[in-house]
Amino acid sequence: MSVIIQHQSFSPYEVLQDHERTLFVTHAGKVGAANHFIGTMRDFNEGSDVTGLTLEYYPGMTEKVLQNLCERHMAKYGCLDIVVHHRVGEIQRDEAIVLVAVWSSHRAEAFAACQSMMEALKSEAPFWKKETLQSNETRWVAKNTSGVFG
């Protein structure tokens, strides 16, 4: 299990590749499914052109909330491992903001745990986004919407 909050940009695919090097040793023969979600900075939101994004967090609490979410999901879905990487600070267009990755023995657990982790992160983890618009005005994102269909 790994929770990392970082200012530097990261490649989600390198994180996955690095993590799987040890995962397939620790859980040799048991991994049947992997599922991951990557959230990326786009250049539009709520009808406006967005040119910049800054992410604030609560050092100490944010790590704790994410760690608890991972533990809760590991136990509930019987996952083999969960990794969360989240950017903070200044983020450029097309850069990864968040990676949630789940490994399990069967696909049902991997799909369900990954989506549930992302929804829980979106509603519980103390992060706040501030957007810079094309007009150079800045605005705080008011709230996250649900990512669940239907």
């Binding site: 959230g39 992410l55 604030e56 967090y57 609560y58 100490g60 609490m61 704790k64 989240h86 903001i97 968040v98 992302m118 992160l121 979106k122 509603s123 519980e124 983890a125 103390p126 992060f127 706040w128 986004k129 501030k130 705080w140 994102v141 008011a142 709230k143 996250n144």
Partner: protein, 80 residues
């Protein structure tokens, strides 16, 4: 009477609205989260849109704050 320093932090849009990142309060007795907010903000009621944490755990307006705790008030979270 013994006093302990309680730190009250503000984040994101709330920090900008309040105009500072934190308050420091010398407390001798426990108080609820809502009482603490009123004491620090000219008797204003705690807005129900804000979320609260005591020592890095989510809390409710009626929860008790002990002298020396770390409190945080913040708007709805928008990460991910």
């Amino acid at each position: 009477m013994t006093f302990s320093t309680t730190v009250i932090k503000y984040f994101a849009s709330l920090r900008e609205k309040v105009g500072r990142a934190e308050d420091v309060l010398d407390m001798s007795e426990p108080a609820t989260v809502a009482e603490l907010w009123q004491r620090l903000h000219d008797d204003a009621l705690l807005p129900d849109t804000l979320r609260v944490a005591i020592n890095h755990e989510f809390a409710m307006p009626d929860d008790m704050v002990q002298p020396g705790d770390e409190i945080a008030f913040f708007p709805p979270v928008t990460g991910g």
